[in-house]
Symmetry: C2
Subunit: 173 residues, 2 copies
Amino acid sequence: MKIDDLKRLIRDIPDFPRRGILFRDITPALGDPEAFATICDAFVERYRELGIDSVAGIEARGFLFASVAAYLLGLPLIPLRKPGKLPWKTVSRAYDLEYGTAAVEMHLDAVKRGDRVLIIDDLLATGGTAAAAAALVEGQGGTVVELAFAIELSELGGRNNLGSRPVFSLITL
Amino acid sequence: MKIDDLKRLIRDIPDFPRRGILFRDITPALGDPEAFATICDAFVERYRELGIDSVAGIEARGFLFASVAAYLLGLPLIPLRKPGKLPWKTVSRAYDLEYGTAAVEMHLDAVKRGDRVLIIDDLLATGGTAAAAAALVEGQGGTVVELAFAIELSELGGRNNLGSRPVFSLITL
């Protein structure tokens, strides 16, 4: 399947999770094995030769792609989770939302100094979660090789919130 | 890696998420590519020939194993999610917790009448979430071929809450 053909498997949901937001629903792409494989295989193809040490997935939809990429690349899988979900010693980074703040957490032993880490999420919007995830990895002495997304909503300018870190997205909407 | 060797990659966390609970932390197994592959490959081996139509994963840790299984089996991946997360039309099933209730949701178009669905989660404890997930699938006319878990905490008796549905777990603790 071509990347452009994936776009028809992303369902637009107006006013979700609240009025004025156009939500991009990836469940039709998850439900199409060829589409899901196209996304996962594209990540694997891109990252196979980059000397990556581990793959971090951002809860929850990032888990869907990061786990397959980690499996196929034969690399450790790091879950980056919402606060209070990881049971052992964690590091945490808060980030601003339109109203209030949120945070993302990682186990303290997930990244070692010098590790080259790939971070995967399903969608890049404003980049707040991704920037916090990258800061977590870097705070432990890791290097973010790239932030990879299935979808990028380019008009929200998320790349600008990720500094000089490399960013890759398969589908730009 | 042998299944028995996986046990040393499950970290016991006393008093999480609250006093008196011994939490089984799978992040060391996720961080060991051979261990993670052993779990995923065992699922794929078991389910390859069973005429399954789709693989449903329960948010959030169930996503980690269900996504790899769906990819390797070449089957549609269905996310079963916490309330309010799925953006389109959903069906919902509530279940009891020790204090209060929770619910799991599925998109209305995720399962068609007659579909044979494999449900995957990381851990079987009391079985409340898994029973609600199975009821969601059955409520749409699907058949739960099996409920599959990486870990089963047998002393909590979760199987008894799953009725006559087939249950499989790789590791029993």
